[in-house]
Amino acid sequence: MKNNQRISLPSIPTLEYKKFLEQNVSLLKEPNNHCVNYYGFPSGGKIKLLCCIANDKEGTILVSSSYAEQNQLLPSFTNYNLAFHIFERELHENFGIKYSDHPWLKPVRFPFDRADKNSSSRNYPFYKIDSEELHEVGVGPIHAGVIEPGHFRFICNGEQILHLEIQLGFQHRGIEKLFLEKKIFLQRTTLAENIAGDTVAGHTTAFVNLWESLCNYKAEDDLKFSRTLALELERIAIHTGDLSALCTDIAYQLGSAVFGRLRTPLINYFQIWCGNRLAKGLIRAGKNNFPFTNELKNILEKLLHDYENDFDEICKEAFSLSTVLARFEKTGTVSNKDAFSIGTVGMSARMSGIERDVRKSHPHDLYSSFNHQPITKNHGDVYSRVQIRKEEIKQSIGYIRKLLENIPQQNKNRNPLSLSQPDSFCISLVEGWRGEICHCAITDEKGELAHYKVKDPSFHNWLALALAVRQNEISDFPVCNKSFNLSYCGHDL
């Protein structure tokens, strides 16, 4: 199937587990393939497993399924391909499925409906090394800054980090279940907007594209235009904020202040357009409350012009300073091999030369018109992630200018959204600023939503951060963490 294509649920092949394992594991031997989602849902007293492998060259997604029972002992996919580790940990946590050869069935997020209610963040046994020379440092769940909670446990040899274990789940709000419980369509859109406040355009676009496909609705160009523009603006705004935060962490005051203030006109632009600085309320399925006008175009052109001048000036200064480069270069390195084996996506993949970008491989909305070339770096260090941000900002400005050349007319006689189709499965991939967002939905025989699955790019990428800080000084942790800027709420859901 293709991105945003609706298929009938019975058309998904159901394989015997052994065959299911063999097929999906062998698919991943091909470097153009990667697993975008692997999850389970209750179906007829059993657990139906659904595995979605994307072929990035062909732009297709291969979906297969199998059945498992609660508390059943199964051989793991992870034993053959490490990228599956997080999916199988989730299956174990949610349904109690046991694996005979999974390396570490560490809890993922302590959801309220987990299989083992005795497992909690209070009694979680962190990985320990028995040594008199090593010491442990624990941080969180509440961090020192104004950011979301998570717990980080370092094992250090003096200043050097040997191992970092990350435990999340503190932000778990039960979002996937709420998608089923909230029956009103606007409620579901609001939920999508509140998955991650820094990725409002990303997650909401994934949701509305998915929903329109479920309803056999073809979005007109003006809707696609708004979504593409919002995604690229969000990318520029958050990347700019990240550059500011990275400068703050290395105590480079000028960069911190200038990048920080450059973010303001961008998010204020969202407010001018739709009344909310983070674009909440902007994107809706089958309608557009805030049609794009020529006046908005003029404001944006002026804004980008002013932004680019100041941005180029501060970039030139910041990235010629040896003190800045000394902190960024060779800090927090993840090798291409490691990044590939754990299945990273988005910036966290492109930093190590893995060209993984939904905008190119599975284009949606107006992306097919850009001939998008993902920006990749090869060193996998903080500096690679900084450079990707800097270059993606410039690339996105180019895309926005191209979009503005041809603003589609608003359709005033839009067909209303019909009901969602019965017995369907649909998958929606969006390249958010952080990477690949994946929403999946299943409808029952009446067309009602039967299961909803959200996957934030951070789900794959948190392990990359843990690997990046090994052998680094513990004082470099903040800059490593900020250079990934992974989502807590998007992960915990």
């Binding site: 932000q171 709000r173 009103i184 991650a196 000028l254 203030r261 407010q271 983070l278 100041d310 915990d492």
Partner: protein, 250 residues
């Protein structure tokens, strides 16, 4: 050095000179006004994703409202959102805007504890706790301290430890997994301490209200000193709310 000075010069003055009377750029969904026009009240109520709208009389609860504006699109003659960003209050009731009302939302001076203006009017240090927040309010609270809003000029700052803080700011609907860390943080804050709820999710649970993954018991145990509505809260809403809290006297 000269390059740095040039950059500083090119940046110009970025701060908002008077954050208590600043104009909001563009459109903004702040304090709503509901007029007395007769409409189908049930239809009006049904639009709202978070049940913020009630009838008899028609009212909207800003503590539940996610400011999506869909009610104003469906019934443009009935409700409109103004750009008035001063929508904080220390009394939950005052966040409920009724039909025909068009007056600023203010704090109730009789509910402000005496210690607050006595100790905190010139300096207030806050510890922020993100308890299931979606990172949007967190981004905006960070923005309060940037070069545009510069909340630090009033002596109001976020600090790294509850032991350095005069109060806590809670964002998010308070997940079960954050209930205990939140309590520990509150206990570690020295007396007299204040509690501020920032954002619709914190005030009422917002769209997450009723989710079995939440545990909001903490809120029933203590007096809340300030409610700051918004999804997310706008920095100007937050700064003005706090200023009113620490400056207003009985």
């Amino acid at each position: 050095m000269l390059d740095n000075l040039k950059i500083l010069f090119h940046q110009g003055k970025q701060y908002i000179p008077d954050v208590t009377n600043a104009e909001m750029p563009g459109i903004f969904r702040g304090r709503p006004i509901i007029n007395s026009e007769k409409i189908n009240e049930d239809e009006f109520m049904e639009i709202c994703p978070t049940n913020a709208i009630e009838k008899n009389p028609v009212s909207i609860d800003l503590g539940k409202c996610t400011f999506c504006g869909e009610c104003a699109f469906a019934f443009p003659n009935k409700i409109k959102f103004t750009t008035d960003y001063k929508i904080s209050s220390n009394e939950r009731e005052r966040l409920i805007i009724k039909e025909g009302e068009d007056k600023p939302i203010e704090l109730n001076p009789s509910l402000i504890r005496k210690e607050i203006s006595e100790y905190f009017s010139g300096s207030l240090k806050l510890r922020q706790v993100s308890a299931g927040g979606d990172n949007s309010c967190e981004l905006e609270l960070n923005a309060c301290g940037n070069v545009n809003f510069d909340m630090g000029r009033f002596g109001i700052e976020f600090v790294a430890s509850p032991r350095h803080a005069d109060g806590i700011v809670i964002t998010g609907p308070i997940s079960e997994n954050m209930a205990e860390p939140l309590q520990i943080c509150y206990d570690a804050t020295p007396e007299p301490k204040i509690i501020i709820l920032a954002g619709t999710d914190a005030i009422s649970g917002g769209i997450f209200s009723g989710s079995p993954a939440l545990n909001r018991n903490f809120l029933s145990k203590y007096k809340i000193d300030l409610f700051v509505p918004g999804n997310p809260v706008h920095p100007l809403t937050f700064i003005n709310g706090i200023l009113e809290l620490i400056r207003k006297r009985k």
